[in-house]
């Protein structure tokens, strides 16, 4: 049984802080090493460098030297960064310096315990931080690929490459030409127009059918509810390529293949499961006595639906509609089968562009689409909160 004193923030022994910081240094060394050509050298160098610095800070220098030491690290790392990567290297190096300067003292002086409950065991403390690190990494790996393409879309050259001019922040290395290409090329404009013409109609169909299906399936007297539900959800479960091939042959016989309405119907079928799931979820919290009360007051079922039920399940309908819209807007497999060249959508055009000609125009389009998605989702979230506030469902 370990005994704990009240003072939890205390200097840790070197046998603890040196290996921990060295391990963190080795982790950073993976990336620096990979960029310089040898991962193992990077790991080794990172670990050794951090071990030495920690030993210096915690074992040799006194605690009052913290500030000068941390500034020294920033300068040292920035200089090191310059050697490896010139101007951008300085920025990256300085960030490394700030972080590791802080980290050495954070570990070495036991400050990581400051905000934790005093009675946690070392295992629980480790678990707490491991959890945070894992969450951070998940965000990092989800976001990085999206963030990396954004500066590349301003590339002055026609390749997916960070040119030396770009890395030294030379204005010559940047250009808006890929955006210009997107807005002036008839291919891209046609594709944009096709997407804009297909997605809203497909969304409208999925929302109408999906909402009706969800309401019907949530009333208890419908027979075979589960079986019907499973069939309606199946486009989400069956591999897309199978649905696509099936639709291709079926629509060909009906004469729908290669037509605007064929693509709209196919996308509506893909969007319906999302609407059913979100609307069913909101219907769980819906009080059926409200519809009976409305009927009692003389409202017919249609009026009841639009005046009573619809406003209450609206959040579910809207988020289902959003998913349906994004499904249609992002979809490439089904449209490749069901559409013909006349219905080339944006994802299709991007797919072609990526395969035939690796052109950063795709990245410009991606950046625009990401920006639109962010604006769209922010707006919807804002509206939702506002309506909740106005209806008094949530405080503030």
């Amino acid at each position: 049984m370990a005994t704990y004193t009240l003072k939890y923030v205390e200097k840790k022994p070197l046998s603890f802080s040196v290996p921990v910081v060295a391990a963190a240094g080795a982790f950073a060394g993976i990336f620096v090493g990979a960029a310089q050509g040898s991962i193992w050298q990077g790991i080794l160098a990172g670990a050794v460098l951090m071990a030495i610095l920690t030993f210096l800070a915690q074992g040799v220098l006194s605690e009052s030297m913290e500030k000068p030491f941390r500034w020294g690290m920033v300068v040292l790392f920035a200089a090191g960064g310059y050697v490896f990567g010139e101007i951008p290297g300085i920025v990256v190096g300085a960030i490394f310096g700030v972080f590791y300067g802080w980290f050495i003292y954070w570990i070495g002086q036991g400050r990581y315990r400051e905000k934790l409950l005093p009675y946690l065991t070392p295992g629980q403390v480790l678990g707490h931080f491991a959890f945070r690190v894992i969450c951070g990494m998940i965000f990092f790996f989800l976001i990085t690929p999206i963030v990396v393409v954004m500066p590349l879309s301003f590339n002055a050259e026609d390749f997916f490459t960070f040119t030396p001019e770009m890395l030294s922040f030379d204005p010559e290395g940047y250009s808006l030409k890929h955006y210009r290409d997107f807005f002036t090329s008839p291919d891209w404009q046609q594709a944009l127009w096709n997407s804009v013409a297909i997605a809203p109609v497909a969304t409208l169909l999925s929302v109408s059918f999906g909402t009706l299906a969800a309401i019907g399936l949530s009333s208890e007297h419908v027979p075979f509810r589960r079986a019907i539900m499973a069939i309606l959800i199946s486009p989400m479960i069956v591999p897309l390529i199978i649905s696509a091939a099936g639709m291709y042959f079926f629509y060909s016989r009906l004469g729908l293949q290669g037509t605007y309405w064929g693509v709209v119907l196919a996308h509506a079928a893909l969007g319906i499961p999302f609407v059913i799931i979100t609307v069913t979820a909101t219907l769980v919290g819906f009080d059926r006595s409200l519809t009976r009360a409305a009927a009692n007051m003389g409202a017919d079922p249609v009026t009841t639906f639009f005046r009573v039920q619809m406003p209450l399940i609206l959040p579910g309908v809207i988020s289902g509609g959003l998913f349906a819209f994004i499904t249609s807007f992002d979809e490439v497999v089904v449209v490749l089968f069901v559409g013909s060249a006349g219905q080339k959508t944006l994802p299709w055009q991007m797919f072609i562009g990526l395969r035939e000609q690796i052109s950063p125009t795709i990245l410009a389009v991606a950046t625009i689409l990401v920006s639109i998605s962010i604006v769209l989702l922010t707006t919807v979230e804002f509206l939702r909160r506002r309506s909740e506030r106005m209806r008094g469902l949530s405080p503030g």
Partner: protein
């Protein structure tokens, strides 16, 4: 009175339809299938735009599906709904489609234009007319390009195919296509097999193993590509020292993008690309497709295409008419794979050999790659 007006009116209708017969025979829209990118762009500029000028009512739709043309045409045929009118494919795919009855047989004498001097189409295209369905358009080659700034100091830049296999003199990564075709031939050539014996050797088990063994000497330094756009990207990144790809792609990297890359024409492999017309098209669409083909494969049009991309026209009569690049204003002739200076040592894609051995050697190559 009433009867006469009706009669008159119907006669007028009959006359006007009779006069419009030729125009109505042809469909008003046409779907062309090609490869996308700079290549398709050259076809738009050289064939489609002038053709559209002659036929203002025509709607031309492009579909960038040549890569999967065989599979898609099979599916369309099965579904009884062929939506393509003219399809651009490599010669090997054209042979397959022809064998399966998915492409229409053509008669060059009747369907293709004569050369300006009266030479028949059959003679003008000559050896390029492989198979019964293929309408040749261009000669392209698969060859190597290398980064000029990565050549080690004091060493001559690579100029021979065997330099690709020489890791000591030319250290660095190579980009090779992820399929046995071309790679196996090059490997044997650099393992001491004489050029005219390459296919005899490659037909034997030991010969195939010999080629794979030679490739194994550089395997650790190879990045395998599958799309034509890969090698230009890898070269521009400096990720590889040298890599094989289509010569038009390298032209674009060097002349249009100004990258520090140079061509290595030694042992380039010629291949053909051209049109096919899907079998069993409805009459009006077939008439339109044939009309377009007749126009787009005449001597002038084929020579015009070379203004936009460095692929050689398939007609002999087009060669002297090849001029300058439309935007850059440089002479295109020295950039053609068929230029005498570039074609001192060449291969022609051996359709017969690969038709017979492809499945077998493909399987061996893939398992060698994985092993």
């Amino acid at each position: 009175m009433k009867l006469t007006t009706t009669l008159l009116a119907s006669t007028a209708v009959a006359v006007s339809t009779a006069g419009a017969v030729t125009a109505q025979d042809m469909a008003n829209s046409m779907t062309l299938v090609s490869w996308g990118g700079a290549y398709q762009n050259s076809q738009v500029k050289a064939y489609a735009e002038p053709y559209k000028e002659m036929n203002p009512d025509l709607e031309i739709v492009w579909d960038e599906s040549s890569n999967e043309a065989v599979a898609k045409l099979r599916a369309m045929d099965e579904a009884g709904n062929v939506t393509w009118d003219v399809v651009d494919v490599v010669a090997a795919d054209a042979l397959r489609l022809c064998d399966e009855g998915l492409a229409m047989e053509i008669d060059p004498e009747e369907m293709l234009a004569e050369a300006p001097d009266g030479t028949s189409a059959e003679d003008d295209f000559g050896d390029m007319l492989v198979g019964d369905c293929f309408i040749p358009q261009i000669v392209y080659s698969t060859t190597f390009g290398y980064r000029t700034d990565m050549v080690p100091e004091g060493v001559e830049p690579p100029s021979e195919i065997c330099d690709v296999f020489d890791l000591e003199t030319y250290p660095g990564k190579r980009a090779l296509e992820k399929r046995p075709i071309n790679n196996m031939e090059w490997a044997l050539l650099c393992d001491g097999v004489a050029k005219d014996e390459v296919y005899d050797v490659l037909a034997t088990e030991e010969g195939q193993q010999q080629a794979l063994d030679k490739l194994a000497t550089i395997k650790d330094d190879v990045i395998w590509w599958s799309d034509g756009a890969d090698t230009p990207q890898l070269l521009a990144d400096g990720e590889v020292f040298m890599g094989s790809t289509y010569n038009g792609r390298l032209f674009s990297v060097i002349e249009e993008q100004g990258q520090p890359v140079a061509m290595m024409w030694d042992a380039q492999v010629f291949d053909l690309d051209g049109w096919i017309i899907p079998a069993n098209l409805p009459e009006d669409r077939l008439a339109r497709a044939l009309d377009f083909i007749y126009f787009a494969t005449d001597t002038q049009r084929l020579a015009d295409q070379a203004k936009y991309i460095s692929y050689g026209p398939a007609r002999e009569s087009s060669a002297p008419m090849v001029g300058q690049h439309a935007d850059l204003g440089i002479d295109m002739a020295p950039h053609m794979p068929t230029d005498p200076e570039n074609s001192k040592n060449t291969f022609l894609y051996n359709y017969e050999f690969w038709a017979d051995y492809r499945d077998d050697i493909d399987a061996k190559f893939q398992s060698w790659l994985a092993g």
